[in-house]
């Protein structure tokens, strides 16, 4: 069998049914094999589109995303997408073509050292040296990508080794890696200590993140919270890990979190951190973060324990296993009246709110609220990065895990739309909506071609303020309103652009038109739709912890401004 055929055989064995990619010289043998394969290949319009789509597919489905690109520029165009997946711990296996083995190191045409380039942004990577190793490496790559703390793995495949024919006999040998073991079990002593601490807590808070979703532990999280009536705040990556509509939900915490979530963190006596990494956008100044709390930290990655904050009770292990061990040791609590009263008071006093437009323009937050209302919180929402991302986190009530897809760690503009394509392919039963900004959407707008070709009916809602809004907001607040290169008034007509690609384009400039436009978009089942919402140009994301400030001292959002 040819190396390329062995590769596809191994992909099928891993349960891969769809790959996202872009062909080129060095991957010709792989594409030749794909021609006869039952694996579905989605042709992106740029390698970055392919890799984000594979990422969106992985996030929406919980499976491992797969993507293929050629050597040199094909590989380097993937870098942003690989780094995006790495920062957010998304399981992905990325195959890159490489120049033929004898040419490696000779600066051949379209040669780039992709294993070297991706070393710090992959969980692991491989440069194939012998066709005989294909089966073992593919098996290891998938095993590494999806187990423990998930992450992207790159496999670099020299062209000649994909062409080479060898006698191939498939085996079912298990993966053998001396330096990598799948985590099993949790330390029961630590569980007992943690349970005692939680049982005695008067003002506990759960701080839940992406690890809950990765571990499939949303049900356990809900059970624990409800058993002990513990309020839950989630990180951006944790959106959907706990239902936003639950009475115990505090929404998101951190820089653009709710005031009540940040106040609760400030006042809590026991903080139960579950599948989180104490990111700077969450903690702000670390000294001000949960100053009165004993901290229990559950995470599968031992290196996260004590990395950013000192914790009292570290529990290293799969979140699901840890919570399952913890729950039976927790007392059932009827109420935590004093603490809940304090929190309700904060909720009443400081709800998320936004002002009215002075010129009768649409408020972007209102668009997100409308999307939430019309989809009943049951769509998959992808976001770009910036104001659109924060409003999508604040004003949409997520009910289920894997319904909020956003580049949390790396903050990649241009992520949302291709991710939405991947998500819709993974979950055709769900409405998939990309909440975008006019800046971000232009970073991967070419993927309209992909979505039209494969009849992927995703809806792009551009909150169009004709600005790079988040940067403009910071320039307004911290750089004396000097809007340096953030005015994006010069932009294409997004409606005509959509139509040029064969998609549907709708422009909305009045509040009364919002619902009709969304309803019309929901009816389209065979192509993507762009809704270009012209919104208030200088609306800000509030409340906000100013950089270097304390989460107890948030800016804005106190009254209608």
């Amino acid at each position: 069998m040819k190396g390329a055929e062995i590769l596809l055989h191994c992909l099928q064995k891993e349960g891969v049914d769809v790959v996202f990619g872009y062909p080129g010289g060095a991957v010709l043998p792989i594409y030749d094999a794909l021609y006869d394969s039952s694996i579905k290949h989605i042709l992106a319009r740029h390698e970055q589109g392919a890799v984000h789509a594979a990422d969106g597919y992985a996030r929406a489905s919980g499976k491992t995303g797969v993507c293929i690109a050629t050597s040199g520029p094909g590989g380097t165009n993937l870098v942003t997408g690989i780094a995006t997946a790495f920062m957010d711990s998304i399981p992905m296996v990325v195959f890159t073509g490489q120049v033929s083995s004898p040419l490696i190191g000779k600066d051949a045409f379209q040669e780039a050292d992709i294993t070297g380039i991706t070393l710090p942004i992959t969980k692991h990577n491989y440069l194939l040296e012998r066709t005989e190793d294909v089966a073992r490496i593919v098996k290891e790559a998938f095993h590494i990508a999806r187990t423990n703390r998930p992450g992207p793995v790159v496999v670099d495949l020299p062209k000649d080794l994909m062409e080479k024919i060898i006698d191939f006999e498939d085996t079912d040998d298990p993966v053998q890696l001396r330096g990598y073991r799948v985590m099993k079990g949790v330390n029961s002593g630590q569980i007992i200590t943690a349970a005692e601490m939680i049982n005695q807590a008067q003002r506990p808070v759960i701080y839940a993140g992406g690890g809950v979703i990765a571990s499939g532990a949303a049900a356990e999280l809900k059970e624990m919270a409800e058993k002990m009536k513990i309020p839950v705040t989630t990180t951006l990556m944790g959106m959907g890990a706990f239902p936003g509509v639950n009475y115990l939900s505090l929404g998101m915490l951190g820089m653009h979190g709710t005031r009540y979530a940040n106040y609760a963190i400030g006042e809590c006596d026991v903080l139960i951190a579950v599948g989180v990494r104490f990111d700077d956008r969450v903690t702000a100044k670390i000294e001000h973060f949960a100053p009165n709390a004993s901290i229990i930290h559950i995470d599968i990655d031992a290196a996260e324990i004590g990395k950013n904050v000192d914790v009292n009770v570290p529990i290293v292990g799969e979140v699901k296993e840890a919570l399952q061990a913890l729950i039976p040791r927790l007392q059932t609590r009827e109420e935590l009246s004093e603490w809940h009263q304090t929190i309700s008071r904060w909720k009443d006093e400081y709800p998320l709110r936004y002002g009215k437009s002075s010129e009768g323009r649409i408020m972007p937050q209102h668009v997100v609220e409308k999307i939430c209302e019309l989809t009943q919180g049951e769509a998959i929402i992808c976001t770009e990065v910036g104001q659109n991302q924060m409003w999508a986190a604040q004003y949409y009530q997520y009910k289920e895990p894997r319904t909020f897809l956003s580049s949390g760690g790396l903050g990649t503009m241009g992520y949302g739309f291709p991710a939405a394509i991947g998500a819709k392919i993974a979950r055709p039963d769900m409405k998939v909506i990309d909440i975008a900004g006019d800046g971000s959407i232009q970073m991967n707008i070419q993927e309209l071609g992909t979505a039209v070709q494969y009849k992927v009916p995703v809806i792009i809602c551009i909150l169009n303020n004709h600005f790079l809004g988040m940067v403009r907001q910071w320039q307004g607040l911290f750089y004396s309103g000097r809007y340096s290169f953030t005015d994006m008034s010069h932009q294409p007509d997004f409606v005509k652009l959509a139509e040029a690609y064969g998609a549907v384009g709708i422009r909305v400039t009045k509040n009364e038109e919002i619902e009709g436009a969304l309803q019309a978009a929901f009816q389209v089942t065979d192509r993507p739709v762009i809704i270009d919402f012209w919104v208030e140009r200088e609306a800000n994301v509030y409340p906000m912890v100013p950089p270097g400030g304390s989460p107890l001292n948030m800016l804005g959002g106190e009254d209608d401004e």
Binding site: T115, G116, L119, P120, K123, H124, L127, I144, L177, R178, G179, Y180, D301, A302, A303, I305, G306, K307
Partner: protein
């Protein structure tokens, strides 16, 4: 700042040194010295890394090293009873008037002269860091032309 000596057992594969070095650079850990060589098992290499940092930093270094797939085991042997050795080659100026003095010094340090040139000598010595430092200091007044140290290798004493 404390210096810690880590014995890092790794897969003997291409690129492993790069992975370790990249990790240290990316996380801003200070490598004092790093040596790598094969072991009794041809599939396994052993690195001895001397790294600066307080307890918290070293804990992070060890945990981050463990995240590399090719790292099999990390042992902090700083507080263990261990034998550690370094090898140095020093080319020192040595005309006839000082040659005898240098030879005497070399004897005291149980070092060896491994090359004799017209106006220089190459001295080879092995020992722990203190001894090598002392030898270097003693030879400096004569004029060191060139010096190379291997960095430390270390092994825990006894059967452990």
């Amino acid at each position: 700042m404390n210096k810690h000596t880590l014995a890092v057992i790794v897969e003997n594969k291409p690129g492993v040194l790069t992975r370790v070095a990249t990790l240290f650079r990316r996380r801003c850990y200070n490598i004092d010295s790093l040596t790598v060589g094969t072991t009794e098992n041809p599939g396994i290499s052993r690195m001895t890394i001397v790294v600066e940092g307080d307890g918290k930093v070293i804990e992070q270094v060890i945990k981050q090293l463990y995240k590399l797939i090719d790292v099999i085991k990390v042992i902090d042997i700083t507080s263990e009873s261990a034998v550690d050795r370094e090898l140095v080659l020093i080319k020192v100026k040595a005309d006839n008037s000082v040659r005898a003095d240098i030879v005497q010094l070399v004897d005291i340090f149980r070092a060896r002269i491994v090359d004799i040139g017209r106006s220089s000598l190459i001295v080879e010595a092995t020992g722990d860091r203190g001894k090598i430092d002392a030898l270097e200091d003693s030879l400096r007044p004569f004029g060191i032309i060139e010096l190379v140290r291997t960095g430390k290798v270390a092994m825990v004493r006894g059967t452990k």
